[in-house]
């Protein structure tokens, strides 16, 4: 038996403080969090697409994807939907409350590969949470990437995460931001109305020099993939963030296994090619 050199306990969270809570859409909030220990905070870095395990004291631990970008260090952000025991308790907390935090985990987006390529980001629903991290990262290091396009749709304007931030990007010279809602009863929505797939007809992408990054509900993948195949996207240029129930975050508890991969270790970002090789993926 090999001697255990690392005495590091991978399951032990650090203490962190909620700095601010921004209300998002109904049932969703953006939590701004900072490590209590300054040294950890200073040395902490991560990749867009990675996730962390948050502990709400007395309720338990759950994984959440990072919505902030490592290009803006110090405060980390999580866009969270209230959906179960841990998030119920989290939503009862106020700014200045303490939580536990460990990570980052997962592979994240292959940033080095994406550099010098065009980027097409396609989000649906809460899928915007991890993709916002990528979007921010790319906009903060704009010169390292080619054309950037975002396609994001919701049912109505009240369904759009990061709404004002994204609306600000509509006229941005830095990128092509396409937002769409199925219906707008208020009549004030300044962007498109219609199915999100219709936005594909309005973009020009060169499949050979573009990476597509997709995250959304399972039903969305089917339609988006169809659109990408129409444009001859190769399978290894389509990046998908996959979702599974997860507990430990470090490849031991077995919950997030998909085929022979663990979402928490080998994912959550997979190319379509990799996902095809997994027996249970889409």
């Amino acid at each position: 038996m090999k001697k255990i050199i690392k005495e590091l306990n991978i399951y032990q969270p650090h203490s962190a403080r909620i700095i601010k809570i921004h209300p998002q859409i109904q049932g969703h909030r953006l939590f701004l969090v900072k490590f209590e220990d300054d040294k950890i905070s200073r040395n902490f870095t991560y990749k867009p697409g990675q996730f962390m395990e948050l502990t709400v004291f007395g309720s338990g631990e759950a994984p959440f994807s990072l919505s902030s970008s490592p290009t803006r260090p110090g405060i980390i952000e999580f866009c969270i939907r209230q959906t179960g025991k841990v998030t119920d308790s989290l939503f009862r907390l106020s700014p200045n409350s303490l939580i536990g935090i460990r990570g980052p985990y997962g592979n994240g987006f292959p940033i080095e590969k994406l550099e010098n390529n065009d980027l097409l980001i396609v989000a649906g629903g809460l899928g915007m949470a991890p993709l916002r991290s990528l979007l921010r990262y790319v906009l903060d290091s704009r010169e390292r990437f080619g054309e950037v396009t975002l396609i994001y749709g919701g049912r109505n304007p009240d369904d759009m995460l990061f709404k004002y931030e994204l609306l600000d990007l509509l006229d941005s010279p830095e990128m092509n931001c396409l937002l769409s809602v199925d219906r707008d009863d208020s009549g004030t929505w300044p962007a498109c109305i219609g199915p999100v797939t219709a936005l594909f007809d309005r973009i020009k992408v060169e499949a050979r020099s573009t990476y597509a990054a997709i995250c959304g509900p399972p039903i969305m993948y089917k339609y988006v993939l169809e659109k990408l195949f129409e444009r001859n996207f190769s399978y290894d240029r389509i990046l998908m963030s996959l979702e599974r129930h997860m507990k430990c975050g470090v490849g031991k508890c077995g919950h997030c296994a998909i085929g022979y991969k663990y979402i928490c270790m080998d994912g959550p970002i997979f190319t379509y090619q990799e996902a095809l090789d997994l027996p249970e993926a889409v």
Binding site: M1, K2, K3, I4, K6, E7, L8, N9, I10, Y11, Q12, P13, S15, E36, T55, F57, G58, S59, G60, E61, A62, R81, T83, G84, T87, L98, G100, L126, P217, P218, E243, R244, H245, K247, C248, V250, G251, K252, C253, G254, H255, A257, I258, G259, Y260, M265, P279, E280
Partner: protein, 348 residues
């Protein structure tokens, strides 16, 4: 070839006594109900060491990955909350009389908990534990370690391995940890004669023919599973018979999935515990959104056997995930067990 010694049966109690002095001894123990279980013992008389003892219902993995284990405790302090890791006590342990199939399973778990990110809860306990394996030459009806290449005689993995030669034991020393147990008791352990070697060889050979009904021919099954060529009807049929009780995973010595929960254990302190979990439970894969990728029982049965046998996992774990202990045969009410599933897939 491992270093070998002879221990006469009349001296076995003395050796157990020595083990008891060295460490906490966990050994097969007969309950008043008549079951054999692994349990901490305090005297040689409690140990069941005749080779007739059956495989314990609960595999010895429970001493490395307990059914319930506290990982951390936390409570409120003036400056907030503080996490305190709850690591296993570091005292030395010996598992005495463990079967070769269970040793093979522990080697499997060692590789898993050491791979990528190390799990110190498992590894600390493992590091402090010596395995003294007793080979079986009277396999039970449900045993098929001979088909999984994980028994009834091992060539490595044990610290000490005992083979019953009628009035004496043939003792193989597998590691320095095992060597140490013998070194200080030289007068107990005698040198091996040519006749002993010969008898050992005879017993190893004759035991191979004693395996009874349980049989599993893996290679074709592994190929079909890995290539996704198993007839859907096989899973339909198995799914109909599954009760989703999780028994197969609990008794399986290589199953290691766990659930994590925070429980209020005292007035001002919570415990984060991990407990055995099973991929046969419907909630095992239920996502926060409510979506469940493995909603149907047949999908879950398929998943379990894919994990145990597919070539993709064999490559990852260096071997398939079955050691032929036969516990799933004894436990499953629906008669879904390794030999049955292997045979169904092979013939589909």
């Amino acid at each position: 070839m491992n270093n070998v010694k002879i221990l006469f049966k009349e001296d076995i109690n003395k050796f157990v006594q020595i083990c008891l002095k060295e460490a906490k001894v966990i050994a097969p123990f007969k309950t008043t109900y008549g079951d054999t279980i692994f349990s901490p013992v305090t005297s040689p008389s409690e140990v069941v060491i005749d080779h007739g003892y059956e495989n314990s219902i609960i595999p010895p993995k429970e001493f490395f990955l307990p059914q319930e284990e506290t990982m951390l405790t936390y409570g409120r302090y003036k400056e907030g909350y503080k996490f305190k890791p709850s690591l296993a006590d570091e005292s030395k342990r010996i598992i005495f009389g463990i079967r070769p199939c269970d040793v093979s399973a522990i080697l499997f778990l060692d590789r898993f908990f050491r791979s990528d990110i190390e799990d110190i809860y498992y590894l600390k306990k493992r590091e402090n534990t010596a395995l003294i394996s007793f080979c079986c030459h009277e396999p039970q009806e449900t045993c098929f370690c001979i088909c999984t290449d994980s028994g009834p005689f091992l060539t490595y993995g044990f610290d000490l391995q005992f083979i019953d030669l009628e009035d004496r034991y043939f003792v193989e020393i597998g590691t320095p940890k095992g060597e140490k147990l013998i070194k200080f008791n030289k007068n107990l352990f005698k040198d091996v004669s040519v006749a002993d070697e010969k008898l050992r060889q005879e017993i190893v050979e004759s035991t191979k023919n004693k395996f009874k009904s349980a049989r599993a021919y893996f290679s074709k099954t592994i190929r079909k599973l890995s290539e996704g060529k198993v007839d859907r009807n096989v899973w339909d049929e198995l799914g109909q018979r599954c009760f989703s009780c999780g028994g197969c995973s609990y008794v399986c010595p290589t199953c290691s999935c766990f659930d994590v929960a925070d429980l209020l254990r005292s007035r001002d302190g919570y415990s984060r515990i991990r407990t055995w979990d099973s991929c046969m439970f419907a909630g095992f894969t239920k996502e926060a959104s409510g979506h469940n990728p493995r909603l149907e029982k047949k999908d879950r049965v398929c998943r379990r056997y894919y994990h145990k046998l597919s070539y993709q996992y064999v490559e990852k774990n260096e071997t398939h995930g079955c050691v032929g202990c036969g516990r799933c045969i004894v436990t499953c009410l629906g008669n879904i067990n390794m030999p049955v599933v292997v045979e169904k897939i092979r013939r589909s």
